[in-house]
Symmetry: C2
DNA sequence: CCGTATCCACCGGGATACTG
DNA sequence: CAGTATCCCGGTGGATACGG
């Protein structure tokens, strides 16, 4: 099985496993620890900053801000600020962001389905023989 | 929207966004930089260590070994060693590993489809206005 | 050929403190 | 409320050298 690198590989039938391949860069981005969870937390609808922070247990303010900025830059979320006091900012998935939900959902489901198997495998592997 | 940990709607387990949630741990694992590529590189069939190293451009020996060990521990790949000189080791996806290909493929396809959009969005975002 | 061991630079990311 | 700014520690991962 040979896939091309986002179809922009110099050599036809090029390898998606090439360094610096744009596809790999995107994979890195959406594969990061928090992006997946933010997409899930944004789910369907709009959420304020503090709401997201509450939903995603364990995320720091810094990482939430940073992740949202990256996602905004990548066109995955929109940021709407209401100039009132106190400030109110709302985040929302764009169409592109929404379209990510499917693939990520599939991954989450895989995790759920195979959780038991993985944990068992780990115990077996860790058995001192 | 409240989703429960392990996706089981309404109840035991709690929120998937909770710290230490097993689902999150698995997500972290398969979401890592190299696992995705190893699954792809193993594709359909068996591959030797050096073969994988060649296919996945940019991976270091250390990281390939480490990733394969983790995957073996998680029950995603099998490792077969042939005691000959020079040594020969072959890796192969387990059924569980194979079942990961679908979800990951979906992610890769998303990347390819949205690559252009993301790069454009980035340029717009980076415009000094 | 297929690793393991060691050293080390880098940076992701938490804690904390401060603004509009 | 929703950030920005700083400091700083620990882990990730590359480079290199050696072993079965």
């Amino acid at each position: 099985m040979v896939t091309t690198c986002a179809g922009v590989s110099a050599a036809p039938g090029g390898d998606p496993y090439q360094q610096g391949c744009p596809t790999r860069r995107i994979l890195d981005r959406i594969g990061d620890r928090w992006t997946v969870l933010v997409v899930g937390a944004l789910g369907d609808g709009t959420a304020r900053f503090s709401e997201l922070k509450r939903r995603i247990e364990g995320i720091s303010q810094k990482m939430l801000t940073q992740t949202l900025r990256e996602m905004e830059r990548d066109g995955l979320v929109t940021r709407t600020m209401y100039a009132q006091v106190p400030v109110r900012v709302e985040y929302q998935l764009t169409d592109a962001g929404m379209s990510l939900r499917g693939p990520l959902k599939a991954l989450e489901e895989w995790s759920i389905e195979h959780l038991g198997m993985v944990m068992t495998a780990q115990q077996v592997y860790d058995q001192p023989s």
